[in-house]
């Protein structure tokens, strides 16, 4: 890292707040934070990382506190909540404490790699986009660790969604995105869905409200550590969510 010349780009005064919701991510959190620090450090953009832990029983918060000591309280902000209240409200909670004018939303489980962050930022600056969304489905985007069944479900669900909603974005359920802060605030206010469908609703409403959307192809590597939290009846809830959006947007 030290050998790479860092080009300071803070002149525009842009600041990026990364929201990291965590639930039992003790093993992943230090790694994702390390990678974020590495890539933000190299690119020279001003940033902060906001960890929103929902009382993880595995001690994620204690790890986060150690990270805060290592990297400083201006870089790592802890905004924990006492119990598991879900992803949507975790974002709302995080935004309230964000000081950046841009917000990154990503998972803390290492399936979203911080190496793409400079690409998100460059594309946003180039096109002045309101939202930049990571996509697994176009360009060099892709996945790792998915079997045929999962690929089929994912592609099939995406196709049906594209046909029914024509959302103007190729990856609707992905949650690696960059938003202008005020855009995220206005979107989150309007979105009522839970889980997967929440991400989908965000992008569909963004298009509906006339916000511009850029896309960056990303590689999505399935989580190495820890367990998936959404699980359960994903397909059923996806179907219900899709139909709701179909009828209401």
């Amino acid at each position: 890292m030290a050998s790479r010349k860092s080009t300071k780009k803070q002149d525009q005064g842009d600041k990026y707040s990364v929201l990291l919701p965590t639930y039992n991510e003790r093993e992943n959190l230090p790694l994702i934070v390390w990678l974020l620090v590495k890539y933000f450090g190299d690119s020279g953009y001003d940033y902060e990382i906001i960890v929103i832990d929902d009382g993880s029983p595995d001690g994620t918060l204690q790890v986060a506190e150690q990270l805060q000591k290592i990297y400083g309280e201006d870089k790592i902000l802890l905004r924990p909540r006492a119990k598991k209240l879900g992803l949507g409200t975790a974002y709302i909670h995080g935004i309230q404490h964000a000081t950046g004018n841009f917000i990154f939303i990503m998972d803390a489980d290492l399936s979203h790699h911080p190496k793409f962050i400079p690409e998100f930022i460059d594309l946003q600056k180039e096109g002045g986009y309101d939202v930049v969304s990571g996509t697994r489905y176009s360009g060099n985007g892709g996945v790792y660790g998915w079997d045929l069944r999962r690929k089929l479900i994912s592609r099939g669900a995406n196709f049906i969604t594209q046909v029914l909603l024509r959302p103007g974005a190729s990856d609707l359920t992905g949650s690696f995105r960059l938003y202008k802060k005020e855009v995220l605030e206005s979107l989150i206010e309007r979105c009522v869905s839970k889980g997967y469908v929440f991400q989908m609703e965000m992008i569909v409403r963004a298009r509906q409200l006339g916000y511009s959307i850029g896309e960056v192809p990303i590689s999505f590597v399935d989580r190495v550590y820890g367990e998936s939290k959404l699980g359960g009846n994903e397909i059923v809830s996806f179907g219900k969510g899709l139909l709701t959006l179909f009828a209401t947007t």
Binding site: L31, L35, Q66, K69, Y137, V143, Y144, F159, L164, S219
Partner: protein, 92 residues
């Protein structure tokens, strides 16, 4: 207008056009060959759309990128990160 309404509108437009030709509702005295082509049209359209869907989804599943390199890179970086974090005093 919601997507649902857009779809209903589109489907009813096609339905009306189909009905007009197939049952000659406006008494246009179209040549019978029009009617013969028109009446099975909805089935043709459905079959064509079904084939298109299957082909598209099949092609996209087959060409879904497997990011082997990304996974390897991540593994290497995880190792590097763990060492560096240990040096910085993180207790896992």
């Amino acid at each position: 207008m919601t997507k649902l309404l857009e779809w209903l509108l589109g489907v009813s437009l096609i339905g009306v056009a189909w009905g007009l030709v197939t049952f000659d509702l406006l008494d246009l005295r179209l040549p019978p060959v029009y009617r013969e082509v028109a009446w099975p049209m909805p089935v043709y359209l459905l079959v064509a759309f079904g084939c298109y869907s299957l082909a598209t989804v099949g092609f996209r599943v087959a060409t879904f990128n497997d990011c082997e390199d990304a996974a390897k890179e991540l593994q290497a970086q995880i190792k590097e990160a763990k060492e560096d974090l240990r040096k910085k005093g993180l207790k896992m």
